[in-house]
Protein backbone atom coordinates (compact mmCIF):
# COMPACT_ATOMS: atom_id res chain seq x y z
CA UNK A 1 0.00 0.00 0.00
CA UNK A 2 2.57 2.54 0.99
CA UNK A 3 5.18 1.81 -1.64
CA UNK A 4 4.25 3.12 -5.02
CA UNK A 5 7.77 3.91 -6.14
CA UNK A 6 9.32 1.07 -8.03
CA UNK A 7 12.60 2.73 -8.84
CA UNK A 8 15.51 1.97 -6.56
CA UNK A 9 16.89 5.03 -4.82
CA UNK A 10 19.89 6.32 -6.68
CA UNK A 11 22.98 7.97 -5.35
CA UNK A 12 22.78 11.72 -5.97
CA UNK A 13 24.74 12.75 -9.03
CA UNK A 14 25.00 9.21 -10.30
CA UNK A 15 28.67 8.73 -9.34
CA UNK A 16 30.16 5.50 -8.22
CA UNK A 17 33.33 5.13 -6.18
CA UNK A 18 36.19 4.27 -8.50
CA UNK A 19 36.84 0.94 -6.80
CA UNK A 20 33.29 -0.31 -7.39
CA UNK A 21 33.34 0.86 -10.94
CA UNK A 22 36.44 -1.05 -11.91
CA UNK A 23 35.29 -4.38 -10.56
CA UNK A 24 31.62 -4.24 -11.37
CA UNK A 25 31.70 -3.51 -15.10
CA UNK A 26 29.21 -5.53 -17.12
CA UNK A 27 30.75 -8.39 -19.04
CA UNK A 28 27.76 -9.01 -21.25
CA UNK A 29 28.22 -9.58 -24.95
CA UNK A 30 27.35 -6.39 -26.85
CA UNK A 31 24.35 -6.50 -29.20
CA UNK A 32 24.75 -7.34 -32.89
CA UNK A 33 24.46 -3.71 -34.01
CA UNK A 34 27.35 -2.77 -31.77
CA UNK A 35 29.48 -5.65 -33.04
CA UNK A 36 28.76 -4.56 -36.62
CA UNK A 37 29.71 -1.02 -35.70
CA UNK A 38 33.01 -2.19 -34.25
CA UNK A 39 33.64 -4.21 -37.43
CA UNK A 40 32.96 -1.15 -39.58
CA UNK A 41 35.31 1.05 -37.58
CA UNK A 42 38.00 -1.66 -37.60
CA UNK A 43 37.62 -1.97 -41.37
CA UNK A 44 37.96 1.77 -41.87
CA UNK A 45 40.97 1.95 -39.57
CA UNK A 46 42.44 -1.00 -41.49
CA UNK A 47 41.89 0.89 -44.76
CA UNK A 48 43.71 3.90 -43.41
CA UNK A 49 46.64 1.93 -41.96
CA UNK A 50 47.26 -0.48 -44.83
CA UNK A 51 45.22 0.46 -47.90
CA UNK A 52 47.30 -1.91 -50.03
CA UNK A 53 45.84 -4.92 -48.25
CA UNK A 54 42.30 -4.05 -49.30
CA UNK A 55 42.74 -2.96 -52.88
CA UNK A 56 45.26 -3.87 -55.51
CA UNK A 57 44.40 -0.90 -57.69
CA UNK A 58 46.36 2.31 -57.83
CA UNK A 59 44.02 5.18 -56.81
CA UNK A 60 45.90 7.67 -59.00
CA UNK A 61 46.23 5.62 -62.18
CA UNK A 62 43.34 6.06 -64.58
CA UNK A 63 42.46 3.89 -67.56
CA UNK A 64 40.61 6.31 -69.89
CA UNK A 65 38.94 3.45 -71.73
CA UNK A 66 37.28 2.34 -68.50
CA UNK A 67 35.84 5.74 -67.48
CA UNK A 68 32.36 5.92 -65.89
CA UNK A 69 31.90 2.21 -65.37
CA UNK A 70 29.18 1.28 -62.91
CA UNK A 71 29.90 -0.81 -59.81
CA UNK A 72 31.00 -4.33 -60.73
CA UNK A 73 33.18 -7.11 -59.36
CA UNK A 74 36.24 -5.63 -61.04
CA UNK A 75 35.46 -2.14 -59.71
CA UNK A 76 33.35 -2.43 -56.54
CA UNK A 77 32.45 1.26 -56.49
CA UNK A 78 32.75 1.80 -60.26
CA UNK A 79 35.19 4.17 -61.93
CA UNK A 80 35.38 7.96 -62.25
CA UNK A 81 35.76 10.30 -65.22
CA UNK A 82 39.44 9.38 -65.66
CA UNK A 83 38.80 5.65 -65.30
CA UNK A 84 40.26 5.53 -61.80
CA UNK A 85 38.94 2.84 -59.47
CA UNK A 86 36.57 4.56 -57.03
CA UNK A 87 36.97 1.86 -54.37
CA UNK A 88 40.74 2.32 -54.37
CA UNK A 89 40.23 6.06 -54.06
CA UNK A 90 37.86 5.66 -51.11
CA UNK A 91 40.21 3.20 -49.38
CA UNK A 92 43.26 5.39 -49.90
CA UNK A 93 41.29 8.50 -48.95
CA UNK A 94 40.30 7.02 -45.61
CA UNK A 95 43.85 7.47 -44.32
CA UNK A 96 43.47 11.22 -44.33
CA UNK A 97 39.77 11.27 -43.36
CA UNK A 98 40.17 8.92 -40.38
CA UNK A 99 43.52 10.30 -39.21
CA UNK A 100 42.15 13.84 -39.39
CA UNK A 101 39.18 12.88 -37.26
CA UNK A 102 41.51 11.25 -34.71
CA UNK A 103 43.71 14.36 -34.62
CA UNK A 104 40.61 16.50 -34.10
CA UNK A 105 39.38 14.31 -31.24
CA UNK A 106 42.85 14.27 -29.67
CA UNK A 107 42.96 18.06 -29.68
CA UNK A 108 39.47 18.20 -28.19
CA UNK A 109 40.24 15.67 -25.45
CA UNK A 110 43.62 17.11 -24.45
CA UNK A 111 42.89 20.84 -24.65
CA UNK A 112 39.23 20.69 -23.70
CA UNK A 113 39.90 18.12 -20.99
CA UNK A 114 42.66 20.23 -19.46
CA UNK A 115 40.52 23.37 -19.52
CA UNK A 116 37.60 21.55 -17.92
CA UNK A 117 39.82 19.86 -15.35
CA UNK A 118 41.50 23.07 -14.26
CA UNK A 119 38.19 24.96 -14.18
CA UNK A 120 36.42 22.31 -12.18
CA UNK A 121 39.23 21.35 -9.84
CA UNK A 122 40.61 24.76 -8.94
CA UNK A 123 37.29 26.57 -9.07
CA UNK A 124 36.94 30.20 -7.90
CA UNK A 125 37.95 32.90 -10.41
CA UNK A 126 39.83 30.43 -12.62
CA UNK A 127 36.56 28.62 -13.19
CA UNK A 128 34.73 31.86 -13.96
CA UNK A 129 37.33 32.93 -16.53
CA UNK A 130 37.61 29.55 -18.22
CA UNK A 131 33.84 29.11 -18.31
CA UNK A 132 33.48 32.40 -20.15
CA UNK A 133 36.12 31.29 -22.66
CA UNK A 134 34.18 28.08 -23.20
CA UNK A 135 30.97 30.12 -23.61
CA UNK A 136 32.69 32.13 -26.33
CA UNK A 137 33.75 28.99 -28.19
CA UNK A 138 30.23 27.62 -27.88
CA UNK A 139 28.69 30.86 -29.16
CA UNK A 140 30.49 30.72 -32.50
CA UNK A 141 28.83 28.12 -34.75
CA UNK A 142 31.31 25.24 -34.79
CA UNK A 143 31.39 24.82 -38.56
CA UNK A 144 31.90 28.54 -39.09
CA UNK A 145 34.65 28.48 -36.47
CA UNK A 146 36.30 25.57 -38.29
CA UNK A 147 36.11 27.48 -41.58
CA UNK A 148 37.69 30.57 -40.04
CA UNK A 149 40.47 28.58 -38.38
CA UNK A 150 41.24 26.59 -41.51
CA UNK A 151 41.34 29.75 -43.58
CA UNK A 152 43.75 31.23 -41.05
CA UNK A 153 46.03 28.18 -41.16
CA UNK A 154 45.81 27.43 -44.88
CA UNK A 155 43.83 24.96 -46.96
CA UNK A 156 45.27 21.59 -46.02
CA UNK A 157 43.66 18.51 -44.56
CA UNK A 158 45.80 18.58 -41.42
CA UNK A 159 44.71 22.19 -40.83
CA UNK A 160 41.09 21.17 -41.35
CA UNK A 161 41.67 18.56 -38.64
CA UNK A 162 43.13 21.15 -36.27
CA UNK A 163 40.23 23.50 -37.02
CA UNK A 164 37.74 20.74 -36.26
CA UNK A 165 39.58 19.98 -33.03
CA UNK A 166 39.46 23.63 -31.98
CA UNK A 167 35.72 23.72 -32.57
CA UNK A 168 35.33 20.62 -30.36
CA UNK A 169 37.35 21.97 -27.42
CA UNK A 170 34.36 23.67 -25.80
CA UNK A 171 32.22 20.53 -25.62
CA UNK A 172 34.98 18.48 -23.99
CA UNK A 173 35.77 21.27 -21.55
CA UNK A 174 32.14 21.47 -20.48
CA UNK A 175 31.73 17.75 -19.95
CA UNK A 176 35.04 17.41 -18.11
CA UNK A 177 34.22 20.35 -15.85
CA UNK A 178 30.82 19.01 -14.87
CA UNK A 179 32.25 15.53 -14.23
CA UNK A 180 35.02 16.95 -12.06
CA UNK A 181 32.56 19.09 -10.09
CA UNK A 182 30.32 16.08 -9.60
CA UNK A 183 33.13 13.89 -8.28
CA UNK A 184 34.71 16.59 -6.16
CA UNK A 185 31.53 16.89 -4.11
CA UNK A 186 31.26 13.11 -3.59
CA UNK A 187 31.57 11.64 -0.12
CA UNK A 188 34.37 9.25 -1.02
CA UNK A 189 36.49 12.18 -2.18
CA UNK A 190 35.84 13.91 1.11
CA UNK A 191 36.81 10.69 2.88
CA UNK A 192 39.99 10.43 0.85
CA UNK A 193 40.93 13.99 1.78
CA UNK A 194 40.16 13.34 5.46
CA UNK A 195 42.35 10.26 5.38
CA UNK A 196 45.19 12.51 4.35
CA UNK A 197 45.09 12.13 0.59
CA UNK A 198 46.72 15.03 -1.25
CA UNK A 199 44.86 16.99 -3.91
CA UNK A 200 47.07 15.34 -6.50
CA UNK A 201 46.19 11.89 -5.16
CA UNK A 202 42.47 12.71 -5.28
CA UNK A 203 42.84 14.04 -8.81
CA UNK A 204 44.66 11.02 -10.21
CA UNK A 205 42.98 8.31 -8.15
CA UNK A 206 39.38 9.49 -8.04
CA UNK A 207 38.53 12.45 -10.23
CA UNK A 208 40.18 11.38 -13.48
CA UNK A 209 38.97 7.75 -13.46
CA UNK A 210 35.42 8.91 -12.80
CA UNK A 211 35.52 11.54 -15.51
CA UNK A 212 37.23 9.31 -18.06
CA UNK A 213 34.10 7.31 -18.82
CA UNK A 214 32.06 10.32 -19.92
CA UNK A 215 34.98 11.75 -21.82
CA UNK A 216 35.65 8.47 -23.64
CA UNK A 217 31.99 8.35 -24.54
CA UNK A 218 32.06 11.86 -25.89
CA UNK A 219 35.31 11.16 -27.73
CA UNK A 220 33.71 8.31 -29.68
CA UNK A 221 30.72 10.50 -30.51
CA UNK A 222 33.01 13.36 -31.47
CA UNK A 223 35.03 11.07 -33.75
CA UNK A 224 31.91 10.61 -35.87
CA UNK A 225 31.03 14.31 -35.78
CA UNK A 226 34.61 15.23 -36.72
CA UNK A 227 34.43 12.99 -39.77
CA UNK A 228 31.32 14.93 -40.82
CA UNK A 229 32.94 18.33 -40.23
CA UNK A 230 36.15 17.37 -42.03
CA UNK A 231 34.13 15.95 -44.92
CA UNK A 232 32.22 19.24 -45.04
CA UNK A 233 35.45 21.25 -45.12
CA UNK A 234 36.88 18.98 -47.83
CA UNK A 235 33.61 19.30 -49.76
CA UNK A 236 33.98 23.09 -49.78
CA UNK A 237 37.57 22.66 -50.97
CA UNK A 238 39.30 23.60 -47.71
CA UNK A 239 41.30 20.36 -47.52
CA UNK A 240 44.11 18.97 -49.64
CA UNK A 241 43.57 19.66 -53.39
CA UNK A 242 42.19 16.99 -55.80
CA UNK A 243 44.90 14.35 -56.27
CA UNK A 244 44.00 13.60 -52.62
CA UNK A 245 40.82 11.59 -52.20
CA UNK A 246 39.24 12.58 -48.87
CA UNK A 247 35.68 11.32 -48.66
CA UNK A 248 34.18 14.80 -48.74
CA UNK A 249 36.30 15.70 -51.72
CA UNK A 250 35.24 12.54 -53.57
CA UNK A 251 31.58 13.46 -53.07
CA UNK A 252 32.32 17.00 -54.21
CA UNK A 253 34.03 15.93 -57.43
CA UNK A 254 31.49 13.14 -58.00
CA UNK A 255 28.54 15.53 -57.94
CA UNK A 256 29.60 17.02 -61.27
CA UNK A 257 28.65 13.76 -63.00
CA UNK A 258 24.94 13.17 -62.31
CA UNK A 259 24.96 10.25 -64.74
CA UNK A 260 27.47 8.40 -62.57
CA UNK A 261 25.66 8.57 -59.22
CA UNK A 262 27.91 5.92 -57.64
CA UNK A 263 30.68 8.53 -57.52
CA UNK A 264 28.59 10.38 -54.92
CA UNK A 265 26.91 7.47 -53.19
CA UNK A 266 29.94 5.22 -52.62
CA UNK A 267 31.98 7.72 -50.56
CA UNK A 268 28.77 9.06 -48.98
CA UNK A 269 27.66 5.62 -47.80
CA UNK A 270 31.11 4.88 -46.39
CA UNK A 271 31.03 8.18 -44.50
CA UNK A 272 27.52 7.58 -43.17
CA UNK A 273 28.33 4.01 -42.10
CA UNK A 274 31.44 5.18 -40.24
CA UNK A 275 29.66 8.00 -38.41
CA UNK A 276 26.67 5.81 -37.65
CA UNK A 277 28.98 3.15 -36.18
CA UNK A 278 30.70 5.71 -33.96
CA UNK A 279 27.30 6.98 -32.76
CA UNK A 280 26.07 3.46 -32.06
CA UNK A 281 29.16 2.55 -30.03
CA UNK A 282 28.96 5.78 -28.08
CA UNK A 283 25.31 5.10 -27.28
CA UNK A 284 26.17 1.56 -26.15
CA UNK A 285 29.00 2.80 -23.93
CA UNK A 286 26.57 5.23 -22.33
CA UNK A 287 24.05 2.51 -21.67
CA UNK A 288 26.49 0.03 -20.13
CA UNK A 289 27.80 2.73 -17.82
Amino acid sequence: MTTITTEAPQAPGGWKPSALRRGGGSRRVPPVGVLLSFTMLLLVVGWSLAPGLFTGQDPARGVPAEAFQGPSLAHLFGTDHLGRDEFARVVHGSASSVTSALVAVAIGVVVGGLVGLVAGFIGSWVDVVLSRVVDVLLAIPSFLLAVVVVSALGFETINAAIATGVSAVAVFARVMRSEVLKTRRAVFVEASLLLGGSRWHVLVRHVLPNASRSVLNLAVLQFGLSILVIAGLAFLGYGDPPPASDWGLLVSSGKDYPLAPWLVYAPAVVTIATVLSANRISRWLRKTD
Binding site: V136, S142, F143, L144, V148, I272
Partner: protein
Amino acid sequence: MTDTRSRRLVSRPYLTYALQRVVQAAVVVLLAYCFTFLVISVLPGDPVSNTLRNPENNFTEDEIARIIGYYGLDQPIHVQLWESLTRFLRLDLGVSLRSNLPVSRAISEVIGSTVVLALSALVVAVVLAFGVAYGVRNLPTPLARPLRALPSLFLSVPNFVIGLLLINVFAFQLGLFFVTDSEGGTATFFAAVALGIPVSAQIAEVLIANLDHESRQEYASFATSRGLSRSRLFWRHLLKPSSLPVVTVIALTVGELLGGALITETIFGRTGIGSLVQRAVTTQDLPVLQAVVVLAAVTFVVVNLVVDLVYPLLDPRVDLRGATKRVRPVTEAVPA
Protein backbone atom coordinates in the same frame (compact mmCIF):
# COMPACT_ATOMS: atom_id res chain seq x y z
CA MET B 1 -4.35 44.15 -6.77
CA THR B 2 -1.29 42.86 -8.54
CA ASP B 3 -1.75 39.35 -9.74
CA THR B 4 0.86 36.79 -8.90
CA ARG B 5 2.28 36.63 -12.37
CA SER B 6 3.32 40.27 -12.56
CA ARG B 7 4.68 40.07 -9.04
CA ARG B 8 6.82 37.14 -10.10
CA LEU B 9 8.01 39.04 -13.15
CA VAL B 10 9.70 41.69 -11.07
CA SER B 11 10.73 39.43 -8.22
CA ARG B 12 14.20 40.03 -6.88
CA PRO B 13 15.69 36.62 -7.73
CA TYR B 14 14.46 36.96 -11.30
CA LEU B 15 15.91 40.45 -11.69
CA THR B 16 19.26 39.35 -10.31
CA TYR B 17 19.23 36.37 -12.61
CA ALA B 18 18.25 38.46 -15.63
CA LEU B 19 20.91 41.04 -14.94
CA GLN B 20 23.56 38.38 -14.53
CA ARG B 21 22.62 36.73 -17.80
CA VAL B 22 22.59 40.01 -19.73
CA VAL B 23 26.05 40.96 -18.47
CA GLN B 24 27.33 37.47 -19.24
CA ALA B 25 25.94 37.65 -22.77
CA ALA B 26 27.59 41.02 -23.40
CA VAL B 27 30.95 39.70 -22.14
CA VAL B 28 30.68 36.63 -24.36
CA VAL B 29 29.98 38.74 -27.46
CA LEU B 30 32.95 41.03 -26.78
CA LEU B 31 35.26 38.09 -26.12
CA ALA B 32 34.00 36.37 -29.28
CA TYR B 33 34.95 39.49 -31.23
CA CYS B 34 38.46 39.54 -29.75
CA PHE B 35 38.89 35.80 -30.27
CA THR B 36 37.92 35.96 -33.94
CA PHE B 37 40.12 38.99 -34.45
CA LEU B 38 43.11 37.17 -33.01
CA VAL B 39 42.47 33.98 -35.01
CA ILE B 40 42.04 35.91 -38.23
CA SER B 41 45.17 37.99 -37.63
CA VAL B 42 47.23 34.80 -37.71
CA LEU B 43 46.27 34.50 -41.39
CA PRO B 44 49.36 33.85 -43.42
CA GLY B 45 50.07 36.41 -46.09
CA ASP B 46 49.59 40.10 -46.04
CA PRO B 47 46.00 41.14 -46.76
CA VAL B 48 47.21 44.50 -47.98
CA SER B 49 49.40 43.30 -50.78
CA ASN B 50 47.13 40.33 -51.52
CA THR B 51 43.90 42.21 -51.85
CA LEU B 52 44.42 45.93 -52.01
CA ARG B 53 47.20 45.83 -54.58
CA ASN B 54 45.43 43.28 -56.71
CA PRO B 55 45.01 45.07 -60.06
CA GLU B 56 41.44 43.71 -60.35
CA ASN B 57 40.35 45.84 -57.43
CA ASN B 58 41.39 49.15 -58.97
CA PHE B 59 42.44 50.86 -55.77
CA THR B 60 44.45 54.05 -56.10
CA GLU B 61 47.46 54.54 -53.82
CA ASP B 62 45.44 57.14 -51.88
CA GLU B 63 42.64 54.69 -51.21
CA ILE B 64 45.11 52.01 -50.14
CA ALA B 65 46.76 54.44 -47.73
CA ARG B 66 43.33 55.41 -46.39
CA ILE B 67 42.32 51.77 -45.81
CA ILE B 68 45.65 50.93 -44.17
CA GLY B 69 45.22 53.92 -41.89
CA TYR B 70 41.58 53.00 -41.18
CA TYR B 71 42.42 49.48 -40.05
CA GLY B 72 45.72 50.53 -38.49
CA LEU B 73 47.37 47.69 -40.38
CA ASP B 74 50.77 49.28 -39.79
CA GLN B 75 50.24 49.19 -36.02
CA PRO B 76 51.09 46.43 -33.53
CA ILE B 77 48.42 43.79 -33.02
CA HIS B 78 47.03 44.95 -29.66
CA VAL B 79 46.54 48.47 -30.99
CA GLN B 80 44.71 47.04 -34.01
CA LEU B 81 42.50 44.96 -31.72
CA TRP B 82 41.67 47.99 -29.59
CA GLU B 83 40.86 50.13 -32.65
CA SER B 84 38.76 47.37 -34.13
CA LEU B 85 36.93 46.76 -30.87
CA THR B 86 36.05 50.43 -30.33
CA ARG B 87 34.76 50.60 -33.91
CA PHE B 88 32.65 47.51 -33.25
CA LEU B 89 31.20 49.12 -30.10
CA ARG B 90 30.12 52.04 -32.27
CA LEU B 91 28.42 49.42 -34.48
CA ASP B 92 30.87 50.08 -37.30
CA LEU B 93 31.76 46.77 -38.95
CA GLY B 94 34.42 48.24 -41.22
CA VAL B 95 34.94 48.26 -44.96
CA SER B 96 35.25 45.23 -47.20
CA LEU B 97 38.76 44.84 -48.59
CA ARG B 98 37.37 43.39 -51.77
CA SER B 99 34.63 45.77 -52.78
CA ASN B 100 35.59 48.86 -50.78
CA LEU B 101 31.96 49.02 -49.58
CA PRO B 102 30.88 48.99 -45.94
CA VAL B 103 30.68 45.44 -44.60
CA SER B 104 27.27 46.16 -43.12
CA ARG B 105 25.98 46.78 -46.64
CA ALA B 106 27.51 43.59 -48.02
CA ILE B 107 25.81 41.67 -45.22
CA SER B 108 22.43 43.38 -45.42
CA GLU B 109 22.30 42.63 -49.15
CA VAL B 110 22.43 38.86 -48.60
CA ILE B 111 21.16 38.31 -45.07
CA GLY B 112 17.50 38.12 -46.09
CA SER B 113 18.04 34.96 -48.09
CA THR B 114 19.87 33.25 -45.22
CA VAL B 115 17.26 34.29 -42.65
CA VAL B 116 14.48 32.87 -44.82
CA LEU B 117 16.45 29.65 -45.30
CA ALA B 118 17.34 29.26 -41.62
CA LEU B 119 13.82 29.98 -40.37
CA SER B 120 12.23 27.59 -42.88
CA ALA B 121 14.78 24.96 -41.91
CA LEU B 122 13.90 25.48 -38.27
CA VAL B 123 10.20 25.00 -39.02
CA VAL B 124 11.01 21.84 -41.01
CA ALA B 125 13.19 20.57 -38.16
CA VAL B 126 10.59 21.19 -35.46
CA VAL B 127 7.75 19.66 -37.46
CA LEU B 128 9.87 16.63 -38.34
CA ALA B 129 11.08 16.19 -34.77
CA PHE B 130 7.59 16.30 -33.30
CA GLY B 131 6.36 13.97 -36.04
CA VAL B 132 9.06 11.42 -35.26
CA ALA B 133 8.47 11.75 -31.52
CA TYR B 134 4.72 11.27 -31.98
CA GLY B 135 5.32 8.19 -34.09
CA VAL B 136 7.77 6.70 -31.60
CA ARG B 137 5.24 7.01 -28.77
CA ASN B 138 2.05 6.13 -30.59
CA LEU B 139 2.72 3.78 -33.50
CA PRO B 140 2.77 0.02 -32.95
CA THR B 141 6.19 -1.33 -31.96
CA PRO B 142 7.29 -2.72 -35.35
CA LEU B 143 6.96 0.78 -36.79
CA ALA B 144 8.09 2.71 -33.75
CA ARG B 145 11.33 0.78 -33.36
CA PRO B 146 12.95 1.80 -36.67
CA LEU B 147 11.57 5.31 -36.14
CA ARG B 148 13.55 5.50 -32.90
CA ALA B 149 16.75 4.94 -34.88
CA LEU B 150 15.90 7.69 -37.36
CA PRO B 151 17.39 10.66 -35.43
CA SER B 152 20.66 8.77 -35.10
CA LEU B 153 20.72 8.20 -38.86
CA PHE B 154 19.86 11.84 -39.56
CA LEU B 155 22.79 12.88 -37.38
CA SER B 156 25.17 10.64 -39.32
CA VAL B 157 24.48 11.90 -42.82
CA PRO B 158 26.66 14.79 -44.01
CA ASN B 159 24.26 17.61 -44.87
CA PHE B 160 25.83 18.07 -48.30
CA VAL B 161 24.83 14.48 -49.10
CA ILE B 162 21.22 15.21 -48.12
CA GLY B 163 21.29 18.29 -50.33
CA LEU B 164 22.74 16.43 -53.32
CA LEU B 165 20.23 13.63 -52.87
CA LEU B 166 17.28 16.04 -52.77
CA ILE B 167 18.50 17.88 -55.86
CA ASN B 168 19.10 14.65 -57.72
CA VAL B 169 15.65 13.23 -56.95
CA PHE B 170 13.40 16.27 -56.89
CA ALA B 171 15.09 18.58 -59.39
CA PHE B 172 16.75 16.27 -61.92
CA GLN B 173 14.42 13.27 -61.86
CA LEU B 174 11.02 14.61 -60.83
CA GLY B 175 11.56 18.13 -62.14
CA LEU B 176 9.79 19.77 -59.18
CA PHE B 177 12.15 22.74 -59.20
CA PHE B 178 15.02 24.12 -61.24
CA VAL B 179 18.45 24.53 -59.74
CA THR B 180 18.83 27.72 -61.75
CA ASP B 181 15.92 29.34 -59.90
CA SER B 182 17.61 28.93 -56.55
CA GLU B 183 15.57 31.50 -54.60
CA GLY B 184 12.19 30.17 -55.73
CA GLY B 185 9.70 28.78 -53.26
CA THR B 186 10.11 25.07 -54.03
CA ALA B 187 13.89 25.31 -54.21
CA THR B 188 13.92 27.13 -50.87
CA PHE B 189 11.72 24.44 -49.37
CA PHE B 190 14.09 21.65 -50.39
CA ALA B 191 17.11 23.66 -49.23
CA ALA B 192 15.33 24.08 -45.90
CA VAL B 193 14.72 20.33 -45.72
CA ALA B 194 18.40 19.63 -46.39
CA LEU B 195 19.42 22.07 -43.66
CA GLY B 196 16.66 21.07 -41.28
CA ILE B 197 17.10 17.29 -41.21
CA PRO B 198 20.29 17.14 -39.09
CA VAL B 199 18.86 19.81 -36.79
CA SER B 200 15.60 17.89 -36.40
CA ALA B 201 17.57 14.90 -35.12
CA GLN B 202 18.89 16.82 -32.12
CA ILE B 203 15.44 18.12 -31.25
CA ALA B 204 13.85 14.69 -31.71
CA GLU B 205 16.43 12.94 -29.51
CA VAL B 206 15.77 15.27 -26.59
CA LEU B 207 12.02 15.23 -27.15
CA ILE B 208 11.90 11.43 -27.20
CA ALA B 209 14.11 11.19 -24.11
CA ASN B 210 11.79 13.62 -22.28
CA LEU B 211 8.65 11.79 -23.42
CA ASP B 212 10.10 8.48 -22.21
CA HIS B 213 10.97 10.09 -18.89
CA GLU B 214 7.53 11.63 -18.43
CA SER B 215 5.76 8.41 -19.37
CA ARG B 216 7.50 6.68 -16.45
CA GLN B 217 6.13 9.23 -13.97
CA GLU B 218 3.34 8.28 -11.61
CA TYR B 219 0.81 10.67 -13.08
CA ALA B 220 1.24 8.92 -16.44
CA SER B 221 0.65 5.43 -15.04
CA PHE B 222 -2.31 6.84 -13.10
CA ALA B 223 -3.80 8.31 -16.26
CA THR B 224 -3.26 5.01 -18.09
CA SER B 225 -4.87 3.06 -15.28
CA ARG B 226 -7.85 5.39 -15.53
CA GLY B 227 -8.17 4.11 -19.08
CA LEU B 228 -6.68 6.92 -21.14
CA SER B 229 -5.58 5.86 -24.61
CA ARG B 230 -1.97 6.21 -25.68
CA SER B 231 -2.58 9.15 -27.97
CA ARG B 232 -4.84 10.88 -25.43
CA LEU B 233 -2.11 10.50 -22.83
CA PHE B 234 0.41 11.88 -25.32
CA TRP B 235 -1.56 15.00 -26.20
CA ARG B 236 -3.10 15.74 -22.81
CA HIS B 237 -0.30 14.89 -20.41
CA LEU B 238 3.09 14.04 -21.88
CA LEU B 239 3.52 16.63 -24.60
CA LYS B 240 3.56 19.80 -22.53
CA PRO B 241 6.16 18.92 -19.90
CA SER B 242 8.29 17.19 -22.54
CA SER B 243 8.37 20.01 -25.04
CA LEU B 244 9.22 22.86 -22.67
CA PRO B 245 12.91 21.89 -22.43
CA VAL B 246 12.95 21.56 -26.21
CA VAL B 247 12.72 25.36 -26.39
CA THR B 248 16.24 25.48 -24.97
CA VAL B 249 17.49 22.89 -27.44
CA ILE B 250 16.04 24.85 -30.34
CA ALA B 251 17.95 27.90 -29.16
CA LEU B 252 21.13 25.85 -29.10
CA THR B 253 20.64 24.72 -32.72
CA VAL B 254 20.93 28.29 -34.01
CA GLY B 255 24.63 27.66 -34.49
CA GLU B 256 24.01 24.50 -36.53
CA LEU B 257 21.58 26.37 -38.75
CA LEU B 258 24.04 29.18 -39.45
CA GLY B 259 27.01 26.85 -39.91
CA GLY B 260 25.06 24.40 -42.05
CA ALA B 261 23.77 27.25 -44.22
CA LEU B 262 27.34 27.60 -45.51
CA ILE B 263 27.16 24.22 -47.20
CA THR B 264 23.47 24.21 -48.08
CA GLU B 265 23.73 27.57 -49.83
CA THR B 266 26.69 26.35 -51.85
CA ILE B 267 24.88 23.23 -53.02
CA PHE B 268 21.61 24.97 -53.88
CA GLY B 269 23.45 27.89 -55.48
CA ARG B 270 21.85 30.46 -53.18
CA THR B 271 23.33 33.89 -52.55
CA GLY B 272 23.46 34.38 -48.80
CA ILE B 273 25.74 34.67 -45.82
CA GLY B 274 27.24 31.31 -46.73
CA SER B 275 28.38 32.38 -50.16
CA LEU B 276 29.58 35.67 -48.67
CA VAL B 277 31.77 33.75 -46.22
CA GLN B 278 33.11 31.49 -48.96
CA ARG B 279 34.07 34.49 -51.08
CA ALA B 280 35.57 36.22 -48.06
CA VAL B 281 37.66 33.12 -47.28
CA THR B 282 39.05 32.74 -50.79
CA THR B 283 39.78 36.46 -51.20
CA GLN B 284 40.96 36.88 -47.60
CA ASP B 285 38.42 39.63 -47.02
CA LEU B 286 39.05 39.74 -43.28
CA PRO B 287 36.58 42.45 -42.22
CA VAL B 288 33.71 40.50 -43.83
CA LEU B 289 34.80 37.25 -42.18
CA GLN B 290 35.12 38.94 -38.81
CA ALA B 291 31.71 40.59 -39.15
CA VAL B 292 29.94 37.35 -40.09
CA VAL B 293 31.44 35.42 -37.19
CA VAL B 294 30.48 38.14 -34.73
CA LEU B 295 27.00 38.35 -36.23
CA ALA B 296 26.61 34.60 -35.77
CA ALA B 297 27.85 34.80 -32.19
CA VAL B 298 25.52 37.70 -31.42
CA THR B 299 22.56 35.80 -32.90
CA PHE B 300 23.40 32.71 -30.86
CA VAL B 301 23.93 34.66 -27.64
CA VAL B 302 20.80 36.79 -28.03
CA VAL B 303 18.53 33.85 -28.88
CA ASN B 304 19.84 31.86 -25.93
CA LEU B 305 19.60 34.88 -23.65
CA VAL B 306 15.97 35.42 -24.59
CA VAL B 307 15.19 31.75 -23.99
CA ASP B 308 16.99 31.76 -20.65
CA LEU B 309 15.08 34.88 -19.60
CA VAL B 310 11.70 33.65 -20.76
CA TYR B 311 12.10 30.10 -19.48
CA PRO B 312 11.57 30.75 -15.75
CA LEU B 313 8.38 32.59 -16.70
CA LEU B 314 7.16 29.70 -18.84
CA ASP B 315 8.00 27.01 -16.32
CA PRO B 316 7.08 27.97 -12.75
CA ARG B 317 8.96 24.91 -11.46
CA VAL B 318 12.29 26.56 -12.18
CA ASP B 319 13.47 27.99 -8.90
CA LEU B 320 15.76 30.96 -9.19
CA ARG B 321 16.42 31.55 -5.54
CA GLY B 322 19.18 29.00 -5.30
CA ALA B 323 20.40 29.64 -8.82
CA THR B 324 23.79 31.20 -9.07
CA LYS B 325 24.77 30.93 -12.67
CA ARG B 326 22.51 29.23 -15.05
CA VAL B 327 19.16 27.61 -14.75
CA ARG B 328 18.92 24.94 -17.33
CA PRO B 329 16.69 21.88 -17.22
CA VAL B 330 17.78 18.62 -18.78
CA THR B 331 18.01 19.52 -22.42
CA GLU B 332 20.42 16.93 -23.64
CA ALA B 333 19.96 13.32 -24.41
CA VAL B 334 23.70 13.01 -23.86
CA PRO B 335 24.37 13.27 -20.13
CA ALA B 336 26.83 16.11 -20.20
